[in-house]
């Protein structure tokens, strides 16, 4: 059991093409299925409506973190904050990072989403102090009991 998600995918398209698909807000919207109100600008919030059938009532909201051309694009958001009864603003966002690398056939894209273990500040207490790292290894032991 891990506290982050990592995906790697080989794309048969040049890095410049992939970069545009990720960072041009209209192109991003095409594959991500969201209609964004404006462009991605580091440090700024971008909002939009999900266009995926059945989920048009869901709002996409992210804060753009880094845009290093053709290398790194990142934003923080609340993953799939679809429950309209929940105020997600009190919860810690996760960080999504897209990393691009040129390969002989195109682009290797690595997507990571991390921060699932971050505690909202108002819930942080001595009891929930994170002290040791390396616990994900031990979680495997627990996982064997879960499956």
């Amino acid at each position: 059991m891990k506290n982050r998600i990592e995906k790697r995918i080989e794309l048969n398209a040049p890095v410049s093409r992939v970069w545009r698909a990720l960072t041009d807000h209209r192109e991003f919207g095409e594959w991500f299925r969201v209609r964004l109100d404006g462009p991605f600008v580091p440090g700024q919030i971008v909002r939009g409506q999900i266009t995926y059938p059945g989920y048009e009532h869901v709002t996409f909201e992210a804060v753009v973190q880094k845009m290093e051309p053709e290398r790194l694009f990142s934003y923080s958001w609340h993953p799939y904050s679809v429950d309209s009864k929940v105020d997600y603003s009190n919860e810690e966002p996760t960080l999504v990072e897209f990393k691009l690398e040129q390969t002989s056939t195109g682009t290797l894209l690595t997507v990571t989403e991390s921060g699932f273990d971050k505690i909202p500040s108002h819930r942080r207490s001595e009891a929930f102090r994170m002290n040791e790292g390396g616990w994900s290894e031990q979680l495997k032991n627990i996982e064997s009991h879960v499956s």
Binding site: M1, K2, N3, I5, K7, I9, L11, N12, A13, R17, V18, A21, L22, E27, E30, W31, F32, R33, Y52, G54, Y55, V58, H78, P79, Y80, S81, V82, D83, V86, Y88, N90, E91, E92, T94, L109, V111, E113, F116, D117, K118, I119, P120, R123, A127, F128, R129, M130, N131, E132, W135, Q138, L139, N141, I142, E143, H145, V146
Partner: protein, 115 residues
């Protein structure tokens, strides 16, 4: 698009974070490991050989109880603790849900840039 937990309620990111945090401590992990052997155990049993005082064990058990990983019941006069694995299943289900969404989005991205 919303992850349903086994109990039929939506798994919340905050709960996921609290679970991870509750486990982000070697002492609590060692208690969870002890409890994962299956049998409900008393505070004395859990403290035995751990180098921890009963008070310390109690404190950590309360944290685990607060996120629902551990539950207690009286057996006679003694309070016994056992693991409840449902939160782990919910947590795993939540992460799997987010992971599946990425698989789908990235496969759409692939078709989009390769066409």
């Amino acid at each position: 698009m919303s992850p349903e937990s086994r109990t039929g309620t939506t798994v919340r990111p905050k709960e996921v974070a609290l679970l991870f945090a509750a486990l982000g401590d070697q002492t609590r992990l060692s208690l969870v490991t002890k409890l994962s052997r299956g049998r409900p155990q008393s505070i004395s049993q859990l403290a035995e050989g751990s180098g921890l005082t009963r008070q310390a064990v109690t404190k950590h058990l309360r944290v685990l109880e607060s996120v629902g990983i551990v539950r207690s019941a009286y057996a006679g006069r003694e309070n016994r603790f056992e693991l409840d694995l449902r939160p782990f299943k919910d947590l795993r289900q939540y992460l799997k849900f987010v992971s599946d969404q990425w698989d789908q989005a990235l496969s759409r991205l692939k078709s989009f840039v390769e066409r």
